[in-house]
């Protein structure tokens, strides 16, 4: 037996041995043709009996509605006759009832049929004689009921009412709509068969499904299938999410913290003029940091162009004899060619210098988180490129105390707590300071270098106010914060490591 057939038998049984095709379609979610095909086959096997079931519903026509409200023509005629004294001619009735003659003629027939009065024919004239006002008839009651209910179904009508409906239908006062359905009744054989099937089918014949398909859902056939059970505790295949790089996430977080403290971001090129990387920062041209061991020079292209001639002149004079900065200067001949040389940026202070050359008006708070490069062999503790985080604050009346305050505040924002300050040395700042922070595992470690830009730096740039500057070696900070021991892991080439970070 087909599964659908079985399902139908089961359903009929659930419905107290009898139901209709429509009920099966709607409840089991099957289409009509599928059900009919099965019903036919089940009937042939003697499992069910079917009976056609005709049902109809009725509504009033426009005419019917008018009569339901105003009364049937025969009643109007009777009322007119009574008004005219109990006897009236056709002409009089037509004249007083506002009904067309044809309709009055028809009404005569109904008056006779309903026994409401007599028709008298004298020569050429037709007269109506009515003795009293008749009671409301059943057809009138039904009309009003249909008007009230809008639609009535055969199911809700008695045989007598059905007869009246047929009359009203003939008078074109109601419209009939017919439905055909089929009553299906389970036979004794069918019930026995079903009980037999119920024992075997669940075990052998209900289709077992692994994957639920769109077809199953849309056709409703999922009701007839059984879903294969999974071992929901088995180990699944590994799936890796797309992820941002953990170190770049850390840098992003750092940027967000600095923005929240009111710093504006800046950046500059990786390949930089020595002018910006060193000369503007008052590092003498023979300074060890500028030697081949401490900064990457460029083979190709070797030199850049010095565009701001005025600045170059001021820097030159400052290096040589101090210019108007109040400094003694370094006392050597400054060489333009060296300033033109290109290097890999070795400090983000170059970015600060460029920024100051374009922004001189306080208040200024700038930061930069970017890469710097220094010749080194890559190992667990050293890298040839790393990240610097640098910031400057420019305002009237800023002092060294403010610098220390700023550093403490940044440490607080980064969540590194206790800070201690020691004198430091950077060629471009004076006074200079090194900030040490306490780490529970490592102990005191240098976290930041800072200072106030020297007049030899600010004056040539045209900056007239104190500049607080600080720099953080971000790689080291990240290693501590992220628990990384080997600096190379910050740029790890291990995919499994990145997936798990």
């Amino acid at each position: 037996m087909e599964k659908v057939g079985y399902e139908i038998l089961k359903f009929i049984k659930e419905r107290n041995m009898e139901t209709t095709v429509k009920d099966i379609c709607e409840t089991l979610g099957l289409d009509h043709s599928t059900v009919m095909r099965n019903v036919l086959s089940l009937e042939q096997k003697g499992f069910i009996q079917t009976f056609e079931l005709k049902e109809a519903s009725y509504r009033l026509t426009d005419e019917g509605k008018t009569y339901a409200l105003e009364g049937l023509p025969e009643r109007k005629v009777v009322e007119t006759v009574l008004m005219l004294g109990g006897e009236a001619t056709l002409e009089d009735i037509v004249k007083h009832s506002n009904l067309p003659e044809k309709l009055v003629n028809i009404a005569f027939g109904w008056i006779v049929k309903k026994g409401w009065g007599q028709i008298l024919r004298e020569d050429e004239t037709v007269k109506v004689k009515v003795l009293s006002k008749p009671e409301e008839e059943k057809d009138e009651k039904l009309l009003r009921r249909i008007l009230f209910e809008e639609e009535v179904n055969t199911k809700n009508l008695s045989q007598e009412e059905l007869n009246i409906i047929n009359e009203l239908k003939r008078r074109r006062l109601v419209l009939e709509k017919v439905f055909v359905d089929r009553i299906i009744r389970l036979t004794e054989t069918g019930l026995a068969q079903l009980e037999k099937e119920e024992e075997i089918i669940p075990k052998f014949e209900i289709e077992e499904i692994t994957a639920l398909t769109s077809e199953l859902i849309v056709s409703g056939r999922w009701r007839q299938v059984k879903f294969k059970e999974y071992d929901v505790t088995a180990t699944p295949p590994v799936v890796y999410p797309g992820k941002k790089h953990f170190y770049l996430e850390f840098l992003d977080e750092l940027k967000r913290i600095l923005v929240s403290m009111g710093f504006e971001e800046a950046d500059g090129p990786y390949v930089e003029l020595e002018l910006w990387n060193f000369d503007v920062l008052f590092q003498p041209q023979d300074h060890p940091a500028r030697e081949i061991h401490d900064s990457y020079q460029i083979k190709n292209p070797r030199y850049g162009v010095l565009k701001d001639k005025k600045l170059v002149e001021k820097v030159k004079k400052t290096h040589e004899k101090g210019w108007v900065t109040g400094s003694r200067g370094w006392g050597y001949r400054w060489n333009t060619e060296i300033a033109k040389r290109l290097v890999m940026r070795s400090q983000t202070t170059a970015v600060s210098a460029r920024f100051l050359s374009e922004h001189k008006k306080p208040p200024i708070k700038m930061f930069c988180v970017s890469r710097v490069f220094r010749p080194d062999v890559l190992d667990a503790k050293h890298a040839m490129e790393f990240y610097h985080c640098e910031g400057i604050v420019v305002d009237k009346n800023l002092t060294f105390k403010h610098l220390l305050g700023m550093l403490s505040e940044i440490a607080k924002a980064l969540g590194i707590g206790r800070v201690e300050f020691k004198p430091g040395y950077f060629p471009f700042t004076e006074p200079s300071v090194e900030a040490f922070v306490y780490h529970p595992k490592i102990g005191w470690m240098e976290a930041a270098g800072a200072g106030m830009f020297r007049p030899e730096v600010t004056r040539p740039l045209g900056v007239k106010y104190p500049v607080l500057a600080w720099g953080i070696g971000v790689d080291r900070l990240a290693m501590v914060k992220l628990g990384v021991d080997d600096i190379r892991e910050l740029h790890s080439k291990r995919l499994d490591f990145l997936r798990e970070r």
Binding site: K243, Y270, K299, S327, G331, P363, F421, P431, R454
Partner: protein, 562 residues
């Protein structure tokens, strides 16, 4: 920064008082000496590079005396004139033009004093001396020297003497080739036809600067009197170095005698006395000090601080002092340097930090925000972000990618060939990454968003940073449309409009499976299936599809809209 060693007992003796190690460990960092280690009684200390006067125990002791208040104010050095004359020959002018000298009498070179003398020479050579190019120091046993001394330059073949610690005379050539110092510093004399040399009146060689001294004037712990020479390229710098060394020897009781140097025609001035140890003077304004430091001290305190920093102070009016600065302080260029010295004297640990009231609003660069957007989209497409170095190799950027050449930035002084060029595109880095992960689970979907450097004639740096994003999918099966779909949706999500795609030929990709994306008739992206030859070069065992997109124009549009 220079690292020196200090013997605890020696330091206490110079201080004239016993100071606990614990106390020293706390205080030294406050005067620019970071304590690296204390092992038994030996301190290893890193001194800030701007204070060559503290590259020996004597200098550190001198500064500590001021800080502890054991001895404050200007350390006066009595200097006598010696009869020693150094005559300079004009032949030195091209090779090593300046010489200065000093005589130190009555030195007591204990073992430790001797070690310190060697140590400070070394550190001065490395720092002020710029590895002996700017300053070369010779210290000699004065008792064997027969003045006057001549500083001249001779043809190498005319030079022959027993170098320091040598057994027999060597020629200049042999000295450069055979001795440790010759090999290390010989480059300074490269290209000169004559080598500088210091001779006494008997023709004995004191030294061949900047390479080596003669054995003849060798100093030992029993040496009583010293002659010091310093030669170099700048009179100012050699004088500074001489001042540092002589004052430090004077701290141990040595008596300094100045030396007359007579220069030939063409120098100005022609006769100078060196090692006179004259201080220099500078004014410091109270308001200036307070406005920089924020400490708001009064004039009395200012005077006290200056004395602690070992300056002499003369009050000039209500708000000004005239400072006498010792000759060893070669780092003072500007009033601001004095301010720092006085803040150090005040004590960095005693300053109360104050938060600036500067009010600004913060913002990120549009580039940062745009990058974040791109990265988030790529993560949304299921890619793992990687972070490669900007420095890489020609091999990786060019040859392994199947290219013959590429215009990129090359370093002049790389440490290793692995990191010798600046990346010109991101894709080679991604393939390098994949090749390091062939045993890790597939599929591997990775991306990187960051700057590359391209050559740019228009730019003042002849180069410019260019923001890019690149991604690769590597799996047992990977098809062109896998990556094409990502590119299309990425462009759409970034609201890049008006682009078109066309077939392309590129050696890194399989012919017929590579395309370029053009925006305003400029190629902004390359996408396709990596050529098996390239995969072989990188030892990647699986098919790989990839793209690289130049974000310059999308970023420009993004920036103009936000």
């Amino acid at each position: 920064m220079p690292t020196i060693t200090i013997q605890y007992d020696d330091l206490c003796e110079l201080l004239g008082r016993k100071v606990s190690l614990q106390n020293l460990e706390n205080v030294l960092p406050l005067i620019k000496c970071e304590v690296k280690s204390i092992i038994e009684n030996q301190l290893t200390v890193e001194v800030n590079a701007d204070r060559p006067d503290m590259f020996s125990t004597e200098g550190v002791a001198r500064a500590l005396k001021g800080f502890f208040g054991i001895k404050t104010g200007y350390p006066t050095y009595k200097v006598r004139k010696s009869r020693v004359v150094v005559k300079v020959d004009k032949k030195v002018k091209d090779v090593r033009p300046y010489v200065v000298g000093a005589v130190i009498r009555n030195v007591k070179l204990t073992e430790e004093a001797f070690q310190q003398l060697i140590q400070i020479q070394e550190k001065l050579h490395d720092t002020l001396g710029r590895k002996r190019r700017m300053v070369a120091i010779g210290v000699h046993n004065f008792d064997v020297v027969k003045p006057p001394i001549t500083y001249t330059a001779l043809e190498p073949e005319k030079i022959r003497f027993i170098p320091l610690d040598g057994k027999e005379p060597l020629s200049a050539k042999e000295i450069l080739e055979q001795t440790f110092q010759g090999k290390k510093y010989g480059w300074i004399l490269d290209g000169f036809s004559r080598y500088p040399i210091l001779l006494d009146s008997k023709g004995m060689v004191l030294s061949m600067p900047p390479i080596i001294n003669g054995e003849y004037t060798k100093v030992t712990t029993s040496t009583k009197n010293l002659f010091i020479d310093m030669t170099g390229l700048s009179l100012h710098v050699v004088e500074q170095a001489l001042n540092v060394l002589t004052t430090n020897l004077a701290e141990r009781g040595g008596i300094v005698e100045s030396v007359k140097v007579v220069y030939p025609k063409g120098y100005k001035p022609r006769t100078i006395w060196t090692a006179t140890l004259k201080p220099f003077k500078a004014e410091l304004n109270l308001n200036y000090f307070n406005s920089v430091s924020g400490l708001n001290v009064n004039l009395k305190t200012l005077v006290k601080l200056a004395k602690k920093a070992r300056f002499d102070v003369k009050v000039k009016g209500k708000d000004k002092v005239l400072l006498t600065i010792p000759p060893y302080r070669c780092d003072i260029l500007h009033q601001i340097d004095l301010v720092e010295d006085l803040i150090i004297a005040y004590g960095y640990n005693k300053i109360k930090p104050e938060l600036p009231s500067t009010l600004t609003y913060g913002k990120e660069l549009p580039k940062t925000r745009f990058m974040r957007k791109v990265r988030e989209l790529m993560v949304g497409f299921g890619f793992q972000e990687v972070a490669n170095y900007v420095l890489t190799s020609m091999e990786n950027q060019v040859f392994k990618m199947g290219l013959e050449k590429l215009d990129l930035v090359e370093l002049l002084n790389p440490k290793t060939s692995e990191f010798s060029v600046v990346r010109r595109w991101l894709l080679p880095g991604l393939l390098g990454f994949l090749s390091a992960n062939v045993h890790v689970e597939y599929p591997q979907k990775i991306f990187e968003c960051g700057d590359v450097v391209v050559l740019d004639e228009e730019s003042e740096t002849k180069t410019r940073n260019e923001l890019r994003v690149a991604a690769a999918i590597c799996d047992y099966k990977a098809s062109y449309e896998n990556i094409q779909a990502v590119v299309y949706m990425l462009l759409k999500s970034l609201k890049v409009e008006g682009w078109r795609i066309e077939p392309k030929e590129h050696p890194s990709f399989i012919p017929g499976r590579v395309a370029s994306i053009l925006l305003k008739e400029r190629e902004i992206a390359l996408l396709g299936e990596i050529h098996p030859k390239v995969l072989e070069n990188f030892k990647i065992p699986n098919p790989t599809v990839a793209f690289e997109l130049d974000l310059t124009e999308p970023l420009r549009v993004y920036s103009s809209q936000t």
